[in-house]
């Protein structure tokens, strides 16, 4: 179903601005040289465009991967070799938190008990508007398109339609909705001010508690998102 759709898209991400700065001693110029050294063997990024100057890096980075889409950056409705980058967001902060909690727990569940299990992430939102968005919530195969374990059906589907955005039920957050936007022009150029969220994994109970400041805002069990 096509519809005029607008709203705020929420994301929860790792904060990567200081990954090397925090761990390798050196001036900012040294760290810049080190990042360039690491990038020598990375897939090249699209950087020198008008959008790169116009948009917040939190938005533009999702459109900066060289195309066609390399294997490590596939996602739902974004198959390998697809010719468009995309920005994913939840329509509520809680949906973005559920989506992020899955990946947070996935990388920690197999680790030995002695390790610490907390992480700081950032949350932000950006305004989105598409007069002709593709809403698949009533699609007869919506359960396949939003399958938790495979993106395969969404890849087949997206190759059969032409659209700049997809609205779909979240695979991780019951009653939550996500939006995938292929067209950067449908997003505002700036985001809300990023806020810090702390994710804590409780291994015994196989759940993740998400704190904003000192308040727990979500408690999410692995079985509800996996």
């Amino acid at each position: 179903m096509r519809r005029n759709f607008s709203g705020k898209l929420w994301r929860v991400e790792n904060s990567d601005a200081f990954a090397l700065n925090d761990n390798v001693e050196g001036s900012l110029e040294d760290i810049d040289i080190l990042n360039q050294f690491a990038d020598l063997t990375a897939d090249p990024l699209i950087t020198n465009t008008r959008a790169s100057q116009l948009y917040s890096d939190l938005i533009f980075r999702h459109f900066s991967h060289a195309l066609p889409v390399p294997a490590q950056f596939v996602g739902r409705f974004k198959p390998e070799f697809y010719t468009r980058n995309a920005f994913y967001g939840g329509l509520k902060l809680s949906t973005a938190v559920y989506e992020a909690s899955y990946y947070f727990m996935k990388e920690r569940m197999h680790l030995p008990e002695a390790t610490s299990v907390t992480a700081s992430k950032i949350s932000f939102n950006v305004d989105f508007s598409d007069p002709n968005a593709l809403d698949v919530q009533n699609h007869p195969h919506v359960l396949l398109l939003t399958n938790r374990r495979t993106w395969a059906d969404s890849w087949v589907f997206i190759k059969t339609v032409t659209t700049d955005s997809v609205v779909y039920p979240s695979a991780r957050h019951t009653e939550g909705f996500c939006v995938l936007c292929y067209e950067i022009g449908f997003l505002a150029t700036t985001t809300s001010t990023p806020e810090t969220l702390n994710f804590v994994y409780d291994r015994e109970k196989e759940m993740c508690i998400v704190f904003k400041g000192r308040s727990a805002i979500e408690t999410i069990h692995w079985r509800t998102v996996s």
């Binding site: 994301r11 001693e25 040294d30 040289i33 990038d39 020598l40 610490s116 992480a119």
Partner: protein, 134 residues
Amino acid sequence: MSQEAVRPMTADERAKREGSIVCKALFTILSDLDLKSSDMEKILDVSRKTIGRWSDADTVTFKNENSLTKQAASHLIGAYRSLATIFSNSKDRQAWIKTEHPELRQAPIDLMRNSMEGLIKVRRYLEAAQNKGA
């Protein structure tokens, strides 16, 4: 007060600066991930003598711009960059690198030690994991 303009680095100066910071990064990774010198030798395909020379000189040198050792060092630093984004704690990074991973089906350190393909696989995996969210 001096009004001297900042002079851009020459290619030679930049190469020296790069050698020095890459060396610092490699030894930081060795210590931060609690790796053995033999792990680094395997990952970069260099001898113990070369590692010792880099340590003494506080700089790394590569045979040429396209040497496999240089590529491996670049991949290793890229992998570490993503790992440090996902895990802010050194103990978590050590655990992740040394524990068999359900999707990679081996401990990442073993993949990285065994071949350049393994090192690239771990880097690509971490880059993807780093970007997951929403």
